[in-house]
Symmetry: C2
């Protein structure tokens, strides 16, 4: 098994040794910084994106872009899909010019998107027919984590496949959780986001009610941070302006992780059960 460290050693000492080839689908807010980290860590990255603007931005950032999905899938060691929803992942995998019909045998496909776990299980089974490996590897850590390479990946697949994906995932993130068999990465992610979404509403309401009733919102934040209500939305991502520097609340609620995305994740939990 090769690690990020081994890659660095290989590229440094033997300029003829081939770097592992990665096809990267979806160079958006999350995908682009992840692809750039892979490149920085010695991977030979080819990108694909449907949006002309996405292509332009990625090329300007130094990512070589393929013209078709088939080209991006061909002759790769790893493929990463970072797409908005289940349907996009399904199309990218299943279509005539998609991954399954064009990638080589043995290709390791890591889907970092947040999608329906039942679909992930189906894709993993379908990949086996093509003698490829598909794993659900959704992430948490947001845009900052993607840029800094500190993402957490929740991985669903056999332990053998988890180990095979490790060098790729550690080229983009810091913490890996092996959650169990196919689909369990997505189950962990949608469960997390279900609880997170509800917690954020509860925290925002609780902070607003407390302040309206007359308690200082900084004191309230300090008390709640060490009481039975404590959660990430209180002590790290507090929704009250002025409480925690760097949070959206302290940047005039400037857009980041979109409401539409948490709404999608909550709908996923409803769909999946």
């Amino acid at each position: 098994m090769f690690s990020r460290y081994c890659f660095a050693v290989r590229s440094f000492h033997t300029s003829t040794a081939a770097a592992a080839k990665v096809g990267f689908f979806g160079l958006g807010n999350m995908g682009l910084p992840m692809a750039l980290n892979l490149k920085k860590n010695g991977f030979d990255v080819t990108g694909y994106d449907v949006s002309p603007n996405g292509i332009k931005v990625a090329e300007e950032a130094g990512i070589q872009m393929a013209a078709t999905t088939a080209d991006a899938a061909k002759d790769k060691d790893f493929i990463v899909t970072s797409l908005p929803a289940t349907k996009h992942v399904e199309d990218t995998l299943m279509k005539q010019d998609g991954i399954f019909k064009n990638a080589k045998k043995g290709t390791i496909i890591c889907d970092v998107s947040t999608i329906n776990p039942h679909a992930s299980i189906k894709f993993a089974a379908e990949a086996q027919k093509y003698e490829m490996i598909f794993m659900d590897t959704p992430m948490s850590g947001g845009i900052v984590g993607a840029k800094n390479g500190t993402l957490t990946f929740m991985v669903g697949g056999s332990i053998e496949n988890f180990e095979k994906a490790r060098p790729l995932l550690t080229g983009m993130g810091k913490n890996l959780f092996h959650c169990g068999g196919p689909g369990t990465g997505e189950i962990a992610k949608l469960t997390n986001n279900l609880i997170l979404g509800i917690s954020m509403v509860a925290t925002a309401e609780g902070m607003a009610i407390g302040e309206k009733l007359g308690i200082d919102p900084k004191i309230l934040k300090d008390i709640l941070s060490v009481s039975t209500a404590r959660n990430w939305c209180i002590d790290t991502y507090n929704p009250r302006p002025g409480n925690i520097p760097g949070t959206p609340a302290c940047r005039n609620y400037e857009g980041g992780f979109m409401v539409e995305l948490i709404r999608k994740d909550l709908a996923l939990a409803l769909e999946a059960i």
Copy 2:
């Protein structure tokens, strides 16, 4: 200002020095262990309870019981009220045979009940007319915290009054928060319990959905404990049997903090705004 340490020194060296007198109203699941801790810490405690069984249990535990509210209120340095709801606190304070009409001037009344903060503000103003001090000092930490003297008190009142109540409160608990003026202790408590109640429902549903979809509930608990969903209900009071020893889930959901009480607290948040 005298501390718990000073008490210990006083009772040890000068057997004639009078211990501070406390009238304790409500010797229930929480009140009795708190009163016993006060006694252990050198206070001269007289109890009052409406329930014949409560009186019997308290007397057997060694608490001297008064026959009337007036007797329990008379000639005390401190009074503690530990009662189920706003109405009981109001009656105990306001009635002809209650605290305001029978306690001496200067008595410091700490209400550890969880009640409507608007009522606490009213009681604090009313106490001033009698030249007494009323503070809202609700607690968190449960029955275990009450027994071990490790409760947290959220205190609403002036900083001077907070300091006057400190020796009493540290005779029953470990952490004191000064939340601001009258009512802010109750505001912190009801805000905490609002977020806590919602978090517990979200956590129980999230854990159940995840398990039903096929992830190992211990792995899920470990992942959620360090992810953006993390909260006290996940990492300390996990609702899935087998996940955290000592939780209600690991004691076949044996009764402790009653559903009726969190329901009351959620209603309080609705009432108060």
